[in-house]
């Protein structure tokens, strides 16, 4: 029960506490407390120092352990920088938003953890929808037109999408009709064990609906729009949260159904669908990169691109699957840095238009360098982690039965890199003609500290390559029936 | 290297150095005769050199040390090139595998410094000459490789001495090949030594000159060195030409000297004839002329490769 209370009940409890407390500082302290506890616990569970035994619809396996650590980590950093973010002066309009900020964050943590630890599709669905609900008001944090529109679009699209995922779950029930699985109430663990008996027609339908439905949340094209709108208009910690953990939570649902599909005859079909989704995502990002004018949107599209790569990796299987798992970790870390630094840039320049941002490296040297480095990191330049994970995915692609995918991917990635680089470098280097920007020295804030630590983490995980992580990922791939 | 070979090599070199101005004088004399003039005596170049030697040296006030060392380098480079040439059947002073490359490149060194020295003055006349020299030299070098080089490639030998020794005049195709080669070398000589129709050494209009305009600001010993090295250079090409017709099988001094004198004279006559009957090309058409020579080389080579 300890783990259950720390991971799930405690955040829920703190949601209530935050509602009662007026002082944002106290809320922050409590949230910090919750998040650090959560992180420590996730880490302990991950390392194996603590063997969790969860009640009701919850349980853990290698996959959820890994994802729990990822989201917990993202959440921790987001909460850490949130307070300094909220104290920024330019947020007069969003006093109301500040009041509910930590409350919603705590609720988000609760919902997210519940989703990840759930062992039941119904539970997963409820929790995943709850994450949408907790994030939607946070998107509207700025209280302006764009944020409102983004929130509406996100809320609506994701709700519809997730409703489709529910249909998919119902199809899964149908698939189990007349088999020994009937009446097992949609527990993953049961389904995975005896997946072979499932009716293939309904299984396919189920996979399609769940994948497409959750795609709205993951941001797989062509259902990426709501996600992109939301990520690009949310405050940067929230954007980081969405890119780094919310998408991952949704991805978990797809992985679950994929895991069920794995031992069946539908496997190849599911893989093909994932590959198609991944390629379309890459293509969408590729198109967008030719006409960028909003740098937060750029980052949101970069998320679409990378989730696309992950989907590709999962779809290709083999070593690419392992690469995709690594990519999940690295991408979530990397996106945090990108969004944090983008938030700093936004604060200084007060615009999201690329054309309005100039000479970041001179005006905000620290942020600028971090931004540059994280761009390198996201472009798979070593020694940052994404290099390694992408390498594995590429390798998997090349030796799959469809090596041409690699060439398409590389072509698209190359142009994404070129165009993204063009935009980002323009922001970083071009001469400053905006007189209003004050040239004061950038202060070292907690957000800088966070970005530096995360970047170091990004290198360290890749270079040190902890045994425990590798074993875990190998276990996951074993669960998915992947032969290496 | 044996001492006697060394001594003979030295003697060959001295022959080249000694007779170089004579050849220039011979050409000038013949040319004068063909144009109906009396002309200066054959030994006039010697007197000229002697005169220059004793003159005061004047350097331009904008010039640098390049102008000072360039004549020296020029002479040394040309002399080293001359030391690689076989006179008669004797092994030259410098002869090793691959000396043909050194030969071409050492002349390139001389040219490099001559151009620099010309540009050193900072006058547009010298600049003009230097620019032309650089441009034409670019085309001259391929011609060299198409002629002498082609024989080297065909025979598989890379030393000038051995290359000439490999020439066999008993094959008809080979004779044709050699004759066309010699035409190419002739064109090369005309270009490199700034003779008609590429350049007019006797003109007095700065705008139309190549070689002469480059040394416009030199005098005294500097001019002496330049003139002397240009004589040597002309003679080098003459020897290159001569050696095509030299029967290397016969090792007799008498025959050697006779043939040498005869061929050199014939060459100077033909040079004089060409200089008499042609006029200088327009500057713009000189590259075409050189490309024409290159084309001859390629054609020649094709004929040879596919018939022999």
């Amino acid at each position: 029960m300890l783990e259950f209370s720390v991971l799930i009940l405690f955040p829920l409890f703190c949601t209530g506490v935050c509602y009662l407390l007026k002082s944002i500082r106290t809320q922050y302290i409590i949230s910090m407390f919750v998040s650090s506890f959560h992180l420590i616990f996730s880490l302990m569970i991950f390392i194996g120092w603590y063997e969790p035994n969860l009640p009701f619809f919850f349980s853990t396996d290698s996959l959820s352990k890994l994802f729990l650590l990822v989201i917990s980590n993202v959440y921790f950093w987001v909460v850490l920088v949130s307070f300094s973010y909220l104290r920024r002066p330019a947020l007069a309009k969003s006093e109301e938003g500040k009041r509910y900020y930590f409350l919603l964050l705590n609720f988000y943590l609760f919902a997210n953890t519940a989703a990840i630890l759930s062992n039941h599709f119904g539970m997963y669905w409820v929790a995943a929808e709850a994450t949408t609900l907790s994030v939607a008001p946070l998107i509207y944090f700025y209280r302006n037109e764009e944020a409102l529109e983004a929130m509406w679009k996100y809320l609506f699209l994701v709700s519809v999408g997730i409703a489709f995922a529910f249909i998919g779950i119902l199809f899964l029930i149908l698939a189990s009709k007349g088999t020994i699985l009937e009446g097992h109430q949609l527990f993953f663990s049961e389904f995975v064990k005896k997946a072979a008996v499932l009716n293939p027609v309904w299984l396919k339908a189920s996979f399609i609906f769940i994948f497409v439905g959750l795609s709205t949340k993951i941001g797989i094209a062509p259902m990426h729009s709501g996600d992109v709108d939301a990520t690009s208009n949310a405050p940067s910690p929230i954007a980081a949260l969405m890119s780094g953990s919310l998408r991952i939570t949704a991805l978990l649902g797809v992985l679950r159904i994929f895991q069920i599909v794995s031992p069946t005859s539908t496997h190849e079909f599911a893989k093909t669908i994932l590959v198609i989704g991944g390629l379309i995502s890459l293509f969408v990002a590729f198109i967008y990169m030719f006409k960028v004018n909003n740098y937060k949107r750029l980052l949101a599209y970069s998320s679409v691109e990378h989730l696309g790569i992950i989907a590709l990796g999962i779809g290709i299987g083999g070593i690419a699957f392992i690469g995709a798992m690594y990519h999940v970790i690295y991408n979530s870390l990397n996106k945090m840095v990108l969004f944090f630094t983008a938030g700093n840039i936004h604060r200084k320049f007060k615009t999201r238009e690329v054309s309005g941002v100039t000479s970041v490296l001179n005006i905000l040297p620290l942020t600028g360098w971090m931004f540059l480095l994280s761009f390198f990191a996201i472009s798979a330049i070593p020694p940052f982690g994404i290099f390694f994970s992408e390498l594995m995915i590429f390798q998997g692609m090349l030796f799959s039965d469809k090596p041409w995918i690699l060439f398409i991917t590389m072509f698209l990635l190359l142009f994404i890199f070129i165009n993204m680089g063009k935009t980002i470098f323009q922001m970083l280097y071009s001469k400053n003609e905006n007189e209003e920007i004050l040239l004061e020295k950038e202060k070292f804030e907690i957000i800088h500290f966070a970005t530096i630590v995360i970047l170091i983490l990004l290198i360290a995980i890749a270079v040190i390559s902890p045994e425990i992580l590798r074993d875990n990922i190998l276990n996951i791939s074993k669960d998915f029936g992947i032969k290496l | 290297m044996e001492l006697t070979t060394f001594v003979r090599g030295i003697i060959s070199l001295l022959v080249v150095l000694g007779f170089a101005p004579l050849f220039a004088g011979l050409v000038n004399k013949l040319k004068a005769i063909f144009t109906g003039r009396l002309g200066a005596p054959v030994l006039q170049p010697y007197s000229d050199l002697k005169r220059l030697f004793r003159k005061e040296t004047i350097n331009a006030n904008s010039s640098s040390f390049i102008s000072v060392i360039s004549p020296t380098i020029n002479l040394v480079a040309v002399v080293i090139a001359a030391a690689m040439l076989p006179i008669g059947f004797e092994r030259p002073l410098i002869s090793f595998e691959g000396d043909i490359i050194l030969f071409a490149y050492i002349l390139g060194l001389a040219r490099f410094f001559q151009i620099l020295a010309a540009m050193d003055i900072g006058s547009s006349f010298e600049g003009m000459g230097a620019s032309r020299e650089a441009a034409f030299a670019v085309f001259a070098e391929p011609i060299f490789f198409f002629t002498l080089g082609s024989i080297a490639f065909i025979s598989g030998l890379t030393s000038i001495y051995e290359i000439y020794h490999s020439i066999r005049l008993d094959n008809v195709t080979y004779i044709v090949f050699i004759i066309v080669c010699s035409i190419s070398v002739f064109i090369l000589a005309v270009t490199e030594c700034s003779r008609m129709p590429v350049d007019d050494p006797k003109t007095h209009l700065e705008l139309t000159m190549i070689h002469e305009v480059m040394i416009l600001d030199n005098s005294g010993v500097d001019l002496f060195l330049y003139q002397y090295s240009s004589h040597i250079k002309l003679f080098i090409y003459a020897i290159l030409e001569t050696s095509f017709f030299y029967p290397f099988g016969i090792r007799s001094y008498t025959v050697a000297i006779v043939i040498f004198v005869v061929v050199i004279t014939a060459l100077s006559i033909s040079l004089a004839i060409v200089e008499t009957i042609t006029s200088r090309f327009k500057m713009k058409s000189i590259p075409h002329y050189l490309l024409f020579a290159t084309a001859i080389g390629i054609l020649n080579l094709l004929i040879y490769t596919f018939t022999v």
Binding site: I208, F399 | T72, G98, D120, E141
Partner: protein, 656 residues
């Protein structure tokens, strides 16, 4: 070899020094000192390793080298030596270079850090044995070089130029990914030492070879992949452009050698392909150079030319390999290796020289220079040595390597007979042509920059002792390798015997009499000096004076009447006008009282401006027209869900 490891540590330590010390000047001095010490230490460990010991016995102690991720074979050590040798003078120069910026109040810390990281990662690239380590260092090298280029990042051309570089590196590394994956698949190992004898890979063979050669060829700047060099080199800070041109593009050559080593065999068509591309690179590289007025851009094109010359050597070596002919391989590869060393030396010399000029005059346009020889004669002499060397003229090092390559041509013709002599003559003529153009080009820059009179007023022209020192070191090697090539030939021989040709160790670079060449060159130098002094004596006797130059009777000669670089090269540039994209703007004086006339010439890169950019522009225009998938209306978003589900269902329906 642990010493090398410590040397790398010392080099990296210089980062800490510069980052931690507050006083800028002192920090910079200390850091440079430390870096130089580290490099010298490295050289002192890698040079004996290359020359004296048997490379198979070299290794880090096992603690530092888990799973054999490093290795020290002769090829790697050879390149390691080149890197360190060139890095030392560059570092020395860097000290005085960065001091200027410190004086201006600009922070140089980051730039120095990138410099160090670049040097270190480049060194690790050549000793890396594990393919992934190789790729990592390769990328770190490219990225730090990119960051270093960005020193004056506010400038527009710096942004584009550096970006070209980055994008091209990215393409290259993508190809390398595939290359190494395939090698890994073939050999089931990630260690380069296990990649060998791959000629039996069947259909993959051609793919592998082309991949490797293309990827590394892009990096080294063979045509048509050269376009990034003239973009990136001019805008980089001098220390980086020197290192880029001197070393980093050589890493591509290193890669090509390694690729060959993996297969240990090259088919003949490949030899011809490489030879052809290299000849084109060499000829048009130098021709493009001739049309430039920006000194660094010009030198960048010369890098293309020299890479072409190296490639010619490699091509000859490939042909030798195809026919299993030892002498051809030795001459071809040997010439290429030696030229790699030589080019690293003289190109660094020239780039540093151009950097010194740029720093003093504030311009890279040679048209506005002139008469610098009167400011500093010794500087000119050093620059001149580099120029003569790069033109391949005796008695300096450039000649030696070109000489070997020429010999390679001769030997190929001799060994293979048939139609080979003809093809070899054409190649030789091509190389000779390149030499001629190089002479034209370097006489142009030397005379326009240094000789004549000053075209623009020069406020100050100061060259520090560090700059002299670094230039002198490089010039010393130019002369040394030129005049006394034997030991260097010996090293090249060793490298060849230890990695390429399976011959016995006694095979010298054939029957070339290097001693003879040394004697000739020494005689040449001696004779020049002798005659020079004789001339002095004569002049003392007959008099010597200085006077105004001859102006056809016109007395008012001034600096504007000098020949310009444009006019100088015009005649030659006219010939391949369309390839050079050579434009002229002529305004000739007309009438009785002529107005001001002018003449300008420009050349832009054909691949860059006529193919690449238009292609990219039309592509982005086309793609921007795609409105699909970018609607703003939420109803479309919902419709997409429906459509996607329908399509997927149809796929499911059709699925067997």
């Amino acid at each position: 070899m642990d010493l090398l490891f410590y040397a790398l540590v010392v080099q990296i330590a210089s980062i800490i020094v510069i980052a931690s010390v507050r006083n800028n000047h002192k920090a910079s001095a200390a850091a440079h000192l430390l870096l130089t010490a580290g490099l010298v230490l490295g050289l002192s460990s890698s040079f004996p390793a290359l020359v004296f010991s048997n490379s198979s016995s070299l290794n880090f102690s096992s603690l530092l080298n888990p799973a054999n991720i490093f290795r020290f074979d002769s090829l790697g050590l050879f390149f390691l030596n080149i890197i360190q040798l060139v890095a030392i003078p560059t570092t020395i120069y860097s000290h005085s270079y960065l001091r200027h910026y410190i004086d201006e109040g600009k922070s140089v810390t980051s730039n120095f850090i990138f410099f160090v990281l670049m040097i270190v990662s480049t060194q690790v690239v050549v000793i890396a044995n594990h393919a992934i380590l190789f790729l990592i260092c390769w990328e770190v090298m490219s990225t730090t070089a990119y960051l270093g280029i960005l020193f004056e990042k506010e400038k527009r051309d710096v942004q584009t130029g550096s970006f070209y570089y980055l994008a091209v590196s990215h393409v290259a590394v993508f190809l390398l990914y595939i290359f190494f994956f395939l090698l890994h698949q073939q050999t089931n190992s990630w260690l380069m030492s296990d990649f060998h004898n791959l000629q039996n890979t069947g259909s993959l063979f051609i793919l592998l070879y082309t991949l490797g050669l293309t990827a590394f060829g892009i990096k080294s700047g063979f045509m048509p992949f050269h376009f990034w060099l003239p973009r990136a080199h001019p805008i980089a800070p001098t220390i980086f452009s020197a290192f880029l041109s001197g070393i980093i593009i050589k890493m591509g050559i290193y890669g090509i050698f390694r690729t060959y080593q993996f297969f240990n065999y090259a088919p003949e068509w490949l030899g011809w392909l490489v030879l052809g591309i290299s000849l084109i690179s060499a000829i048009f590289g130098v021709w493009y150079a001739l049309a430039q007025h920006d000194i660094k851009r010009l030198l960048a094109y010369h890098s293309v030319e020299n890479i072409g010359i190296i490639g010619i050597g490699i091509g000859v070596g490939f042909i030798g390999s195809a026919y299993n002919s030892l002498p051809i391989q030795i001459l071809g590869f040997g010439g290429a290796l030696l030229h790699t060393l030589n080019h690293a030396i003289f190109k660094t010399l020239l780039f540093i020289g151009s950097g010194v000029i740029y720093q003093n005059l504030g311009t890279r346009n040679i048209e506005s220079m002139g008469g610098l020889v009167h400011r500093s004669r010794y500087f000119f002499i050093l620059f001149l040595i580099g120029s003569i060397a790069i033109s391949g003229l005796p008695p300096f090092n450039g000649f030696i390597s070109e000489f070997i390559i020429f010999n390679g041509f001769f030997t190929t013709a001799k060994e293979l007979k048939n139609y080979y002599p003809l093809l070899m003559i054409i190649s030789a003529v091509g190389l000779a042509f390149v030499g001629g153009l190089a002479v034209a080009c370097f006489t142009k820059i030397n005379s326009i920059m240094f000789l004549g009179t000053e075209r623009k007023e020069i406020k100050k022209f100061h060259i520090s002792n560090y700059e002299y020192l670094s230039l002198s070191i490089l010039a010393f090697f130019c002369v040394l390798i030129g005049v006394y090539p034997q030991p260097f030939i010996g090293i090249v021989n060793k490298v060849l015997n230890n990695g390429f040709v399976t011959a016995n160790h006694s095979s010298e670079l054939l029957n070339i009499n290097w001693l003879f060449i040394s004697i000739i060159f020494i005689a040449l130098l001696a004779a020049i000096i002798l005659i020079f002094f004789l001339k002095r004596l004569i002049q003392k006797k007959y008099g010597k004076r200085i006077s105004a130059p001859w102006g056809c009777g016109y007395e008012g000669l001034n600096y504007r009447m000098q020949y310009t670089a444009s006019s100088y090269a015009d005649e030659l540039n006219e010939i391949p006008k369309s390839i050079l994209v050579y434009h002229k703007k002529v305004q000739s004086p007309k009438g009785i009282f002529p107005a001001k006339g002018s003449f300008e010439s420009h050349s832009v890169d054909l691949i860059d401006s006529k193919i690449l950019l238009p292609a990219f522009r039309s592509m982005s225009k086309l793609i921007c027209r795609i409105k699909f998938l970018s609607y703003t209306d939420i109803r479309y978003y919902i419709a997409f869900i429906l459509i996607t589900i329908t399509i997927y269902s149809v796929i499911a329906f059709l699925w067997n």
